[in-house]
C-alpha cells in the first residue's frame, strides 16, 4: 500500500511536469531504440498508434511491430526483462507478489482514464441512480424500479463472472467491501453434456441493470437499445471522467521497472505518452485522456 502511495506521488509529479511542458516533445525513436513494449489487449490501439506516430509507420507496419501478450504475460515479461514498458490495468496481488519475489519494484503510472458504467434498457425511464442506491440494489435491499422512480417492475441486477475484471471493479470500487448479493443464475448447456448453472448474462430487458467499462461500452455501436445510467446525477462522458466528476473512474497504466535509468527509452516513451501530444493521440485512439 505504501509502495502504491509513493508511486501515485511520483505519477502526480510526472503528470504536473509533463502538463507544464509544451505540446510536443522532441522524442525521437528508431525501431532499434524503441523500448520493448507489451500489454493488454485493450491497450493495443494506443500502443500501435504511438509506435506509428513515433516511428512513422503505416498502421499495417505498426500492427506487425507491436505485439501485446495480454495483461498477465505482459507483467511477467516486464519482470523478467523481456519487456521494458507495458500498458495494462493495475497489477493484481499475484503480479505484485511475482515482482516482489523477483526483487523488482514496479512504477505504475496512469496514462489514460477509464470508468465503470451502469447499463439499462433505453426504454427504462430511470436515468439516474445514486452511489448508495447502487450499493443497496446489489445488496438486495432495493428490489423494485419504483424505488428509483421507475415502473413497478422487479430489478434484475446482473453481475459478471467471478474473478473477471468487471466483477473485481464492481466489488472494489462500487461495493467497497459490502457483501454483494448472489448473482441471478441461468441454466446453460455444459460443454460435454447436461446443463450447468451459470451467472446469467445481462439481457437488456426492461427490468435489467448491468455494468461494463466505458472504453468498450461507450460506442455499443450506436447505443440504439442501451443507455448509461447517471450516477449521483453525473453522466459518464469523456469530460466527466476526465474531470473526476463521475464517481467510478479508474485507468489504464504504463508500468516500468522502477530502476529504469532516467534517460532510458522506456521513460522517454512514458514521458511522451503523458505529454499533450501523447494525450491527444490517446484521445484520437478512443481513450479518455488524463486531462
Amino acid at each position: 500500500m505504501k509502495r502504491i502511495s509513493l508511486i501515485a506521488l511520483v505519477t502526480a509529479f510526472a503528470v504536473i511536469i509533463t502538463s507544464c511542458s509544451p505540446g510536443g516533445m522532441n522524442t525521437v525513436f528508431t525501431k532499434d531504440t524503441y523500448p520493448k513494449v507489451d500489454g493488454s489487449t485493450a491497450t493495443i490501439p494506443l500502443s500501435e498508434n504511438t509506435a506509428a506516430k513515433l516511428l512513422s509507420l503505416t498502421p499495417e507496419q505498426a500492427r506487425v511491430f507491436i505485439k501485446h501478450n495480454t495483461t498477465h504475460s505482459a507483467y511477467e515479461n516486464l519482470i523478467s526483462g523481456k519487456a521494458d514498458i507495458i500498458f495494462v490495468t493495475e497489477p493484481s496481488a499475484d503480479e505484485l507478489d511475482l515482482a516482489q519475489k523477483a526483487n523488482i519494484e514496479l512504477e505504475v503510472v496512469p496514462i489514460v482514464k477509464e470508468a465503470f458504467v451502469f447499463l439499462v434498457n433505453k426504454q427504462n425511464p430511470v436515468d439516474t441512480i445514486s452511489v448508495k442506491q447502487l450499493q443497496e440494489i446489489y445488496q438486495g435491499k432495493i428490489v423494485n424500479w419504483t424505488e428509483l422512480g421507475g415502473p413497478d417492475k422487479e430489478i434484475i441486477p446482473y453481475q459478471r463472472p467471478e474473478n473477471s475484471g468487471s466483477q473485481t471493479i464492481m466489488e472494489n470500487i462500487v461495493m467497497k467491501g459490502l457483501k454483494i448479493m448472489d448473482a441471478p443464475k441461468e441454466l446453460k448447456p455444459a460443454e460435454m453434456a447436461g446443463l450447468i448453472e451459470v451467472i446469467a448474462s445481462y439481457d437488456n430487458s426492461d427490468k435489467a441493470l448491468g455494468y461494463s467499462v466505458f472504453y468498450f461500452a461507450n460506442s455499443m455501436y450506436n447505443k440504439e437499445t442501451i443507455k448509461f445510467v447517471k450516477v449521483d446525477g453525473v453522466e459518464p462522458t469523456n469530460e466527466t471522467i476526465k474531470s473526476g466528476q463521475y464517481p467510478y473512474t479508474s485507468a489504464y497504466y504504463a508500468v516500468i521497472r522502477k530502476n529504469e535509468p532516467k534517460d532510458s527509452n522506456a521513460r522517454k516513451l512514458l514521458a511522451w505518452l503523458l505529454s499533450n501530444e501523447g494525450q491527444k493521440l490517446a484521445e484520437q485512439s478512443g481513450y479518455v485522456p488524463l486531462r
Binding site: 495480454t70 445481462y202 460506442s219 440504439e224 442501451i226
Partner: protein, 490 residues
C-alpha cells in the same frame, strides 16, 4: 416545392399508367435534368412464422478431388464441388468456374498471410489443402464454405495461423455472388439490426470485459463487405481480418443470429424463387421443412451414480406450442414418472462392487419443423441382467391439428406397406410373414412410430412378442419408399 411535387406526382401517375413495364423507376428532377433510378421490385414476403417449408435445389453435386505437386515440390490436394442440373448451362458453368477458382485461390492468399507474418518457411510445408463444401442449397441459393490449410510439423503448428476459411453465397438464377444486403428486405436497415444483436451478444459473452482480452477496441459495427454465411438456423457473421477490433485467432469467430431474430426482414427465401417456376432440368422439387417456433427447454437434468448404479434424467417443458391442450399433453408426457427411488434400492441390493444397473429418462425430438412434431419419451432400465425399455411416441400435425398416423406419412399407402414388409423381412427376425402383415395393418393405423426428414422409426412389438429389446425398432429411410411417396416432402 409545390412545383417539384407536382412534377413528381405527374411522373408517379405516368409510372402507374405504364405499370406493366418491367422495371420500376424513381424519377428525380434536378434543374432541367430528369434522373431515372431503377428501384428493385420487392416480391411479396411470407412472414417467417407462417413459412413451413422451402425447397431443396434440384441440383446434382459431384465432388472433385485432385492431387498434385507444385513447383515447390509440396504435395497438394484440391477438393471442390461441381454442380449440374440447371436449365441455364451458362449460369451453371459460371458457378462451377467460380467454385473451382475460389477454392484454388484461397491457398495463395493463406501463403501470402503466412509470408507477411514473417515466419513462413516453405521448407516446413508437408502438405497443402484446399476444400470447398456446399453447406446450404435451398430456394435457388447455395452457400459454399471454402478453406485452405497448410500442414506443418506439429511442434510449430501452434505458432501461427495455417488455416483460412471463407464462405460465399450464389444466386442460381444468375450465378452472382450474394451480398449481406441481399438477404434482407431492401427497405430495412439490416446493418442496424445486426449491429444491435452483436452488441448484446458481446455483453452477454463478456467480450466487453477487459480481462477477457478478446477485443482491442469497441465494436466498430459490421463492415460494408462483412463476411457471413447463412443456413436454416442462423445468419452467421464471420469475424475475420476486416473486424480488426477482435483479437485474431486461427479460426475466425462466428456470431450466429437466429432466424427468428431476423424474422420477417428476411427476403432470401422469396427473392430468388417463385412458386411454380423452376430453373432446374428436374421439375419436381422436394420440400425442406423450416423449424417450428416450438421449443423444448430442459429445466432439470440429473446425472448421478456410484459403483452400484447410474441415473440420467432429462426433464423440461415445451414452450410456444400453438395448441394449449397439446402443450399440456406434451408436458405430462415428458415428466419422469418412473419409480427412481425403487430402482436405486433394487440396484443397491445387487451383489458385487460394480454392476451394469442404470436408468435413463430421455426425450428424443425427431421432427420439430414444418408444423410437424415427432417426439419419443423413453425410460430405459438396465438392472443387472434385466433390461426394459418403455417408449412413448407422439406425432402431431399443427397444420391440420390432428395426430399423425403412420399411413398419413405416405401418398401411396399400399406401396409403402410393401416397402415396410420387404424391409422387415430382410432383418431376419424371429417372426412370421403373417405376423408382420397383421402387425403392419395395426401399425399403419397407429401413431406408435417416429419420423424425421430422412425416414421413419417403426415399433415392431405389435408384430411379434418374441423380439428382444434391441430388435423391436426398425429404421427405414425415405429413399426406400421413394421421396415422391412422402406426403410432407412433396
Amino acid at each position: 416545392m409545390i412545383k417539384k411535387l407536382s412534377v413528381i406526382l405527374f411522373f408517379a401517375c405516368f409510372i402507374g399508367l405504364i405499370g406493366c413495364e418491367q422495371e420500376t423507376t424513381v424519377l428525380e428532377i434536378k434543374g432541367k435534368e430528369v434522373i431515372k433510378t431503377p428501384v428493385e421490385e420487392v416480391k411479396a414476403i411470407m412472414p417467417l412464422k407462417d413459412r413451413r417449408y422451402v425447397y431443396h435445389n434440384a441440383i446434382q453435386v459431384e465432388e472433385k478431388n485432385i492431387q498434385s505437386t507444385g513447383q515447390d515440390k509440396v504435395p497438394k490436394t484440391d477438393h471442390y464441388p461441381t454442380i449440374s442440373g440447371l436449365k441455364n448451362i451458362e449460369v451453371q458453368d459460371k458457378i462451377n468456374q467460380r467454385l473451382k477458382e475460389t477454392a484454388q485461390n484461397l491457398l495463395p492468399q493463406l501463403e501470402e498471410e503466412l509470408k507477411n507474418n514473417g515466419k513462413n518457411d516453405i521448407r516446413l510445408y508437408e502438405h497443402k489443402y484446399t476444400d470447398a463444401y456446399i453447406t446450404y442449397s435451398l430456394n435457388n441459393v447455395i452457400f459454399v464454405n471454402y478453406s485452405a490449410r497448410v500442414q506443418m510439423p506439429y511442434n510449430i503448428y501452434n505458432e501461427y495461423p495455417t488455416y483460412k476459411w471463407i464462405s460465399e453465397g450464389y444466386d442460381l438464377n444468375t450465378g452472382e455472388e450474394l451480398k449481406l444486403s441481399d438477404l434482407f428486405r431492401p427497405d430495412m436497415d439490416y446493418k442496424k439490426k445486426i449491429n444491435n444483436y452483436i452488441c448484446q451478444y458481446l455483453i452477454e459473452n463478456n467480450y466487453d470485459d477487459y480481462s477477457r482480452e478478446r477485443m482491442t477496441k469497441p465494436f466498430q459495427g459490421i463492415r460494408e463487405d462483412q463476411s457471413f454465411t447463412f443456413d436454416l438456423e442462423a445468419l452467421r457473421i464471420i469475424l475475420d481480418e476486416k473486424n480488426d477490433e477482435f483479437v485474431s485467432r486461427e479460426y475466425s469467430d462466428i456470431i450466429s443470429i437466429p432466424l427468428e431474430v431476423l424474422g420477417d426482414d428476411l427476403y432470401i427465401f422469396d427473392k430468388y424463387s417463385e412458386e411454380g417456376k423452376s430453373i432446374y432440368q428436374k421439375e419436381k422439387l422436394v420440400k425442406k421443412l423450416l423449424p417450428n417456433q416450438i421449443e423444448f427447454k430442459a429445466d432439470n437434468m440429473i446425472e448421478e451414480g456410484n459403483h452400484k448404479y447410474y441415473i440420467g434424467i432429462t426433464e423440461g417443458k415445451f414452450i410456444n406450442v400453438p395448441d394449449k391442450n397439446i402443450e399440456k399433453k406434451l408436458n405430462e408426457m415428458v415428466a419422469c414418472k418412473y419409480d427412481v427411488q425403487g430402482f436405486i434400492k433394487k440396484a443397491e441390493k445387487i451383489e458385487g462392487e460394480t454392476t451394469n444397473s442404470n436408468f435413463g429418462h430421455y426425450i428424443n425430438i425427431f421432427t420439430n419443423a414444418g408444423g410437424l412434431l415427432s417426439i419419443a419419451v423413453s425410460d430405459e432400465v438396465f438392472l443387472g441382467s434385466h433390461h426394459e425399455l418403455y417408449k412413448t411416441s407422439f406425432n402431431y400435425d399443427f397444420n391440420s391439428n390432428r395426430e399423425i398416423r403412420l399411413k398419413d406419412i405416405f401418398i401411396d399407402e399400399t406401396k409403402a406397406s410393401n416397402v415396410i414388409l420387404k424391409h422387415i423381412k430382410k432383418l431376419d427376425l424371429p417372426i412370421s410373414e403373417e405376423a408382420i402383415q397383421n402387425g403392419l395393418k395395426e401399425t399403419l393405423e397407429s401413431s406408435d412410430f417416429n419420423f424425421d426428414e430422412a425416414g421413419i422409426a417403426l415399433n415392431l412389438l405389435s408384430m411379434g412378442e418374441k423380439l428382444s429389446s434391441n430388435q423391436n425398432w426398425a429404421w427405414i429411410s425415405f429413399e426406400e419408399f421413394g421421396i415422391e411417396n412422402i406426403r410432407f416432402l412433396n
